[in-house]
Symmetry: C2
Subunit: 466 residues, 2 copies
């Protein structure tokens, strides 16, 4: 049976919603657009369509909005789900961010962590509870025959419960992270692994940003769960018009002026990422150090500018990571810096216009994660850069799969190899740079969030056809 | 073509040899039996056969012996290879023990290490050089049509060079470690990965202690190298007569008496391992802590005795590991200990009779590595224990594959789950204990080093048959 999905109503389900509600002094609720890649990427697509977006209530204002059922706000039709704070904390902080995020990105120092103690069973119960609450809420708000698009690792156990309550809806899952191969996922307690894999397999299909994550998910499902879930690959992409609009804004122009005042006419190596363990800041800076040591011609001639905005400072490991980064930067600036030249400039504020200004101005953009579901910055840089920047991209970023013919590939664990790539990028002749940048731009423009959404809807049909 | 290998001369090649040479005061060289699982396991088999054992010269006496060509010592026919100390240090310490050991056992804290800098190429050259020196030496000492059995991760690049020099010999490789799956091996620089995989694939076949390691090697060879090397599985096993002879020695009797004086008639949980990052001491002790917290009936009734002999204290991470272990033990003894009861007793001396005494006396033997090529202690315990000890064994030990129906399986990252297994082991009724122990003993006795050696020789023939 092939079902057309184009005219079916959609329920989009994610932990974080497209808007946040705040109570005003006059007692009314006001809404404001939320942050996050999902919202900026697909928000414009679903606003005004027959889509209901269900998300967890995070602020007090969200909780009040949750009581009101489905509401219209900022052009979205939104439902908020209020979850008991302790349950939410265990499900979100402990299970989702300290364990699932870590295992999918390979961030555990296995000699020491994870070490699941008797509190794990409670945390996992909270995760299950949160997922079942989401399922119940979807069951309430979904129109007949709706297509339910469940987003990300916070919500892997929605589909099975939902199928009991609403057999008329079709449920697809999409992971914005990588997925752990068997050797990593197998660290989790067996019951957890089985429930997680069966939970994901209960969807019509499970989608990922890259073939590799889909393959590793399928490996884990088969090896550890004896399951053969349907998978699909649908890389999200930046919307060219959106990011170019941001680049053309007065705020971005002002930020670019500030940046020019710092870097002058020096070549700029740029990076833009959260201070996230998987992003690999330290090895990136060490590679720059190696570059300056081995190729003295770049001294005084290059500035490495990093927009490194804060992230999850409450999760164990993140404060140490930031300290490592700062120590590394200080040592390199101490070693090479002169009165007129600071080799590395790091900005720890989350300032979107400044990030876009850096993407416009960079001569080389370094994106070297040790593992990253997609990495939107890789394509955003291509869309707004004005100097034919070379993108030095790790194959461990999901984006590499689609962009690889337009980039120089950096090996993320190989500092010396990364330094070589930075050198090649800096000395690349203008013609070759222009060719490579044109190829990258064409690849970046070839997909928009619309394709990503269409692929998810097609996965419902595709699953019927198998 | 099927070649009978039984009557072909053998060259056994390993980093560490069966004997060590020392210069005596009178100027002569004396030899003494070396340590290590390989020597104790297969030494008795090859002594007196048509086997030449080639190993690296480590002591000054070894270097002198190396100059003498093939020599007879302690019943072995031995050749020692003298390697430039700097080359050996880079090949052995840096490449073998800090990188290959770490990647095969999944010991890297990937957020920080490895970070290959420009010194890596030199270290890898030293490794290649050491391997080629071994190949040249094998070419010199091997009789016509010899079968060459290359042992372990220090020596992965011998075969190709040897094939150029001596096309008449057949070369098989055997890994005593696990092998890194693609997601781990891919952290190494691409050139290193390719050279390593091609080096291994140049053997007639590559052997492992467990199917899982063979599969992960094949995955890595295919995914990262486009190769399909022949593999075989041949678990090494303790020799029942050897270990029982050690158990019957006066030294062991004395050690057992010492142990009885410490533990009295309490139940004993025992563990015997090097202070090695992969052995998972801390989570084992935390599980014991959890056991005492949740099952008060075991307080004062159980002693956890650990023979934890020192290992690689010069390799980064090992001193911190030992400090973690000692801190954990001190905290648990502080929490639960009484005037008449020390909950955990750790012995850091490498004392074989004491280790065997513990294997004899234990009521539960905990072997919970996060990843371990085989683990001979698992079967040694079964061969000498006198109390129908329950073996609590991690599935991440290669030995688990063959012994699993005679053990309780412990999940190595799951502290609470390990505590449950320890509890079940301690309270298991006598009849069930006896049945399980008998099953384990039968499995342990079913294989000897002779089978392992025969499997390697058969792999030469098997490779012809494919």
């Amino acid at each position: 049976m092939v079902t057309s999905t184009h005219d079916r109503p959609i329920v989009l389900v994610s932990n974080r919603g497209p808007v946040t509600f705040d109570r005003q002094d006059d007692g009314t609720l006001s809404s404001r657009r939320g942050a996050g890649g999902l919202v900026s990427g697909i928000g414009p697509l679903v606003a005004g369509t027959d889509t209901t977006w269900l998300a967890a209530a995070i602020t007090d204002g969200d909780r009040e909005a949750a009581a009101g059922g489905v509401v219209e706000a900022d052009g979205f039709r939104v439902a908020m789900l209020a979850i008991d704070p302790d349950t939410y904390r265990a499900a979100y902080d402990v299970v989702s961010n300290e364990v699932l995020w870590f295992v999918h990105h390979g961030l555990f120092d296995r000699v020491r962590v994870p070490a699941f103690d008797h509190t794990w069973a409670e945390s996992w119960s909270a995760y299950r509870e949160m997922n079942h609450r989401f399922a119940q809420k979807v069951a309430e708000v979904a129109e007949p025959d709706a297509v339910v698009l469940v987003q990300d690792y916070h919500l892997c156990l929605v589909a099975a419960r939902l199928a009991e309550l609403r057999p008329d809806v079709d449920c697809v899952h999409f992971s914005h992270t990588p997925f752990a191969p068997p050797s990593w996922l197998g660290m989790l307690p067996e019951k957890t692994v089985l429930e997680l894999l069966h939970g994901m397999a209960a969807h019509r299909a499970c989608g990922f940003h890259a073939t590799r994550w889909a393959t590793e998910f399928a490996d884990s499902a088969r090896t550890l769960g004896g399951l053969s879930p349907q998978t699909f690959v649908a890389p999200l992409a930046s919307d060219p018009d959106d990011i170019r609009q941001a680049a053309a804004s007065p705020a971005c122009a002002a930020a670019l002026e500030d940046l020019e005042a710092v870097v002058g006419d020096r070549a700029v190596i740029g990076r833009v990422d959260r201070m996230e363990l998987s992003k690999n800041h330290v090895r990136g800076f060490l590679a720059y150090d190696d570059l300056l040591a081995r190729y003295p011609e770049h001294r005084e001639q290059v500035v490495f500018v990093a927009e490194a905005y804060p992230s999850r400072s409450g999760v164990p490991g993140y404060a140490d990571y930031r300290a490592d980064v700062e120590r590394t930067v200080a040592a390199i600036n101490e070693r090479w810096g002169t009165e007129s030249w600071t080799p590395i400039v790091v900005d720890h504020e989350d300032d979107f216009p400044r990030s876009v200004a850096l993407l416009r101005r960079a001569d080389v953009l370094l994106v070297n994660p040790i593992r990253d579901g997609l990495n939107l910055v890789a394509s955003e840089g291509a869309l707004v850069n004005e100097r034919n920047a070379v993108l030095a991209l790790s194959p461990e970023a999901g984006a590499w799969e689609r962009l690889r013919t337009g980039v120089l590939t950096v090996p993320p664990f190989d500092v010396a190899g990364t330094a070589e790539v930075l050198h090649r990028a800096l000395i690349m002749p203008a013609g070759a740079r222009a060719d490579l940048a044109a190829r990258l731009r064409a690849l970046a423009e070839a997909r928009t969030p619309r394709h990503w959404l269409a692929d998810q809807l097609a996965a419902v049909t595709g699953a019927d056809e198998r």
